[in-house]
């Protein structure tokens, strides 16, 4: 009975849609979260209504490593079941061979986005993904504690160190034995690459591999930056920070046990939740700068993009969908409903957006300091480059060798990996 109804429904929908020009059935794979998926669905419903295409969402686990492995396997096997992929900023260059070049199709809108983001998704002149939203970390600080101890928001890492130490010691002396100065992401994983890239970049130490492909990591400023971070472990940061990812840092922070935290925007809303111990007691600022030559605040570029599979049976409709998801209209909705940072500069001044997510104003400054990870120049080797880098940094943080020693080895390893060219 049910089957019959279903069939009847199917038939009518086919006849209805049959009239529209080449209605396609598309699939988009997304590792987004619950509310993110709901948002995606609502946008897709609009897209379906506008175009007559139908779109199925294939949800994926939120672990990015799981997602990446799966996408790679599917693409390698030429899986035509998925048309559009939601990709992390660092993926598109690695999967460039399997994605369609969108530069022509998106020529009309490319100019609207931040050029640095477009740059990060361009491999050998090929635009492999369109940006859907972006992400950049900030320094979270406790307004109440800073005020109580008469400190200002640190602008350099050195300031952060002293401020954190002083407040921590003072608070501990008052019996708050669980307090720490600073928490970040110190586990050996992609997040450490982000954190460490900020330390190095903000200290004028380059971006590991420069856009032209040169390996720049083995320099004194980079080494100094990492050595300094190594000094935090066990002093202003707990030993366990070596195993922290985003959630662990947020956990410590949200219990009110840290003065400073480096984290992504998601922690902002959660930190202001009703059961949070730090509700209304914190604010964000750009990450501190280093003190070497060319030192400036730096924030690693995150964010998600949409790419179209080479194996899509209906590439035109798929491109249409990708463009739709990257459009200003959807990005605005996203900023309002999901508090995701848009990749279109004009939206940061949009009244509706600012009304819904006033904190975005803070992020504009942060975003201006954003640095991409070297995924574009290192192409398919990026994951391995990143792994080598975070391993070297993690070794240094755990006290296995000095930064200078580890970076020297890293440079040699990267050179081996690079060969003649990336």
């Amino acid at each position: 009975m049910k089957m019959k109804l279903l069939l009847a429904g199917l038939l009518t929908s086919v006849t209805l849609v049959g009239g529209a020009a080449q209605a396609a059935e598309l699939s988009i794979v997304s590792g987004d979260t619950g509310s993110g998926l709901a948002f995606l669905r609502s946008q897709l419903d609009r897209f379906e209504a506008d175009t007559g295409h139908t779109v199925t969402v294939v949800p994926m686990p939120s672990s990015t490593t799981d997602q990446f492995g799966q996408y790679r396997l599917w693409l390698a096997a030429g899986n035509s079941d998925i048309d559009v992929y939601q990709t992390d900023v660092i993926w598109a260059p690695q999967l460039a061979d399997q994605f369609l070049d969108l530069s022509e199709a998106a020529a009309d809108v490319v100019g609207n986005h931040f050029p640095s983001i477009i740059e990060s998704q361009t491999v050998d002149g090929k635009l492999v993904a369109l940006p859907a939203f972006t992400d950049a970390p900030a320094l979270y600080y406790r307004t109440d504690l800073l005020e109580k101890h008469g400190k200002s928001v640190p602008e350099t890492w050195a300031e952060l160190e002293t401020t954190a130490m002083e407040i921590m010691e003072a608070e501990r002396a008052e019996g708050n034995s669980e307090i720490w100065g600073f928490v970040f992401q110190g586990n050996a994983y992609e997040g450490l690459t982000c954190d460490a890239l900020e330390w190095v970049m903000s200290n004028g130490g380059g971006q590991i591999v420069e856009p032209d492909g040169t390996i720049s990591i083995n320099n004194d400023q980079a080494a100094a930056a990492i050595d300094r971070a190594a000094g935090w472990v066990g002093t202003i940061a707990p030993e366990g920070v070596l195993a922290y990812m985003e959630e662990e840092s947020r956990g410590v922070w949200q219990l009110g046990n840290a003065v400073f935290m480096r984290n992504w925007p998601y922690a902002y809303a959660l930190g202001n939740g009703d059961d949070s111990a730090v509700k209304g007691k914190f604010d964000v600022a750009p990450l501190p700068a280093g003190d070497g030559e060319g030192a400036r605040s730096a924030a690693t570029l995150g964010g998600w993009n949409v790419a179209v599979s080479k194996y899509s049976p209906d590439p035109e409709a798929a491109i249409e969908l990708a463009k739709f998801l990257a459009s200003e209209e959807v990005q605005k909705e996203r900023a309002i409903q999901q508090s995701n940072l848009p990749t279109i500069p004009s939206l940061y001044e949009d009244a509706d957006v600012l009304e819904a997510s006033p904190f975005m104003e803070n992020w504009k400054a942060i975003f201006e300091q954003a640095v991409p990870r070297p995924s574009a120049p290192t192409k398919t080797d990026y994951n391995e480059v990143s792994s080598l880098f975070w391993s070297a940094v993690h070794d240094t943080l755990s006290g296995n060798g000095s930064a200078a020693e580890n970076l020297e080895i890293l440079e040699a390893d990267l050179q081996d990996l690079k060969g003649d060219a990336w």
């Binding site: 699939s27 794979v29 987004d32 979260t33 619950g34 509310s35 993110g36 199925t56 294939v58 949800p59 994926m60 686990p61 939120s62 672990s63 799981d66 799966q70 396997l73 390698a76 096997a77 899986n79 079941d81 998925i82 992400d135 990812m245 985003e246 959630e247 947020r250 956990g251 410590v252 949200q254 219990l255 984290n263 992504w264 998601y266 922690a267 809303a269 959660l270 939740g273 009703d274 059961d275 949070s276 111990a277």
Partner: protein
């Protein structure tokens, strides 16, 4: 004399129950902690407690409202059951041949079967993916049932072969004299004798299939065909980096309870010692 004996016996009993208690506590504590966590929400999750402070079933409600969890549960039951039935069926007959019929190359065959279990699962993923697409069972429960034989079958064959080898020869001969064919011997004589082994291997294989993640993630792409471990991995918090601990724990509790029930149902079989009586080795 009598007094010391009783004293010794008491000590032994006390020590024995202490051991039982330790075993139970160590086994169950993390699960208890999971239940505890599943009843918490928000910042409470980050606070260590040993007893429930406040009880909220929000997480459980979330589990059943996100995605298609009841459906996933059903898929898991189906996939794991069919996998086990299939594996036991193939393994019982095969292990009869391997343990009771003398033929050349038997040792080699057993080794070959074992060799299947020696390859890292992660490495067969790509090849298996091709086979499954070739067979046209991609994104169906059959893909998983098919893929899971790679780890359930060698295991069940080996364990059942070992157990069947230990069954007394004379029982089988009595059956032959009674006119039983190999099939009758297996189904009517051996299988009832091997209940403990069958239930045990079946249970272990069931749990292995129930808990498998990697294949399930790779070979299914829709919420309607996915199994519980994938569904749990799909449970998500409000944003990318947020891990919804409470919900994950609630889901784990929901997933584990049927298994515990299964064990309780079958546990009599596990120990139905049929050893005393007619069988003598």
């Amino acid at each position: 004399m009598g007094a010391t004996f009783d004293y010794w016996k008491l000590t032994k009993t006390v020590l024995f129950y202490a051991l039982v208690l330790v075993i139970v506590v160590v086994s169950v504590f993390p699960f208890y902690y999971a239940i505890l966590t599943s009843l918490k929400s928000g910042t409470d999750l980050f606070r260590v407690t040993y007893w429930p402070t406040s009880i909220s079933f929000d997480n459980f409600r979330q589990v059943f409202s996100q995605g298609a969890f009841p459906r996933n549960l059903l898929n898991s039951v189906f996939v794991a059951s069919v996998t086990v039935i299939l594996a036991l069926f193939l393994a019982v007959t095969a292990s009869f041949a391997l343990s009771r019929v003398r033929f050349r190359g038997r040792g080699l065959l057993l080794m070959t079967i074992l060799a299947v279990s020696m390859f890292p699962q992660i490495a067969v993923l790509a090849g298996l993916f091709e086979v499954i697409r070739f067979l046209g069972i991609y994104n169906t429960p059959w893909a998983l049932i098919f893929a899971y034989t790679i780890f359930t079958l060698p295991f069940t064959v080996w364990v059942l072969t070992t157990f069947m080898r230990d069954l007394p020869v004379e029982i089988e001969e009595a059956a032959i004299v009674d006119g039983a064919t190999p099939w009758v011997i297996i189904t009517q004589v051996f299988m009832p004798l091997m209940w403990p082994a069958l239930v045990t291997t079946g249970l272990l294989a069931f749990i292995a299939a129930w808990n498998e993640f990697l294949f399930a993630l790779t070979f299914t792409v829709s919420n309607e065909t996915r199994t519980v471990p994938v569904a749990i991995a799909l449970l998500s918090g409000g944003s990318q980096y947020e891990i919804p601990w409470g919900i994950i724990m609630a889901a784990s509790v929901v997933v584990t309870v049927p298994l515990v029930a299964l064990v309780l149902v079958f546990q009599r079989k596990i120990v139905s010692g049929l050893t005393a009586g007619g069988v003598k080795g």
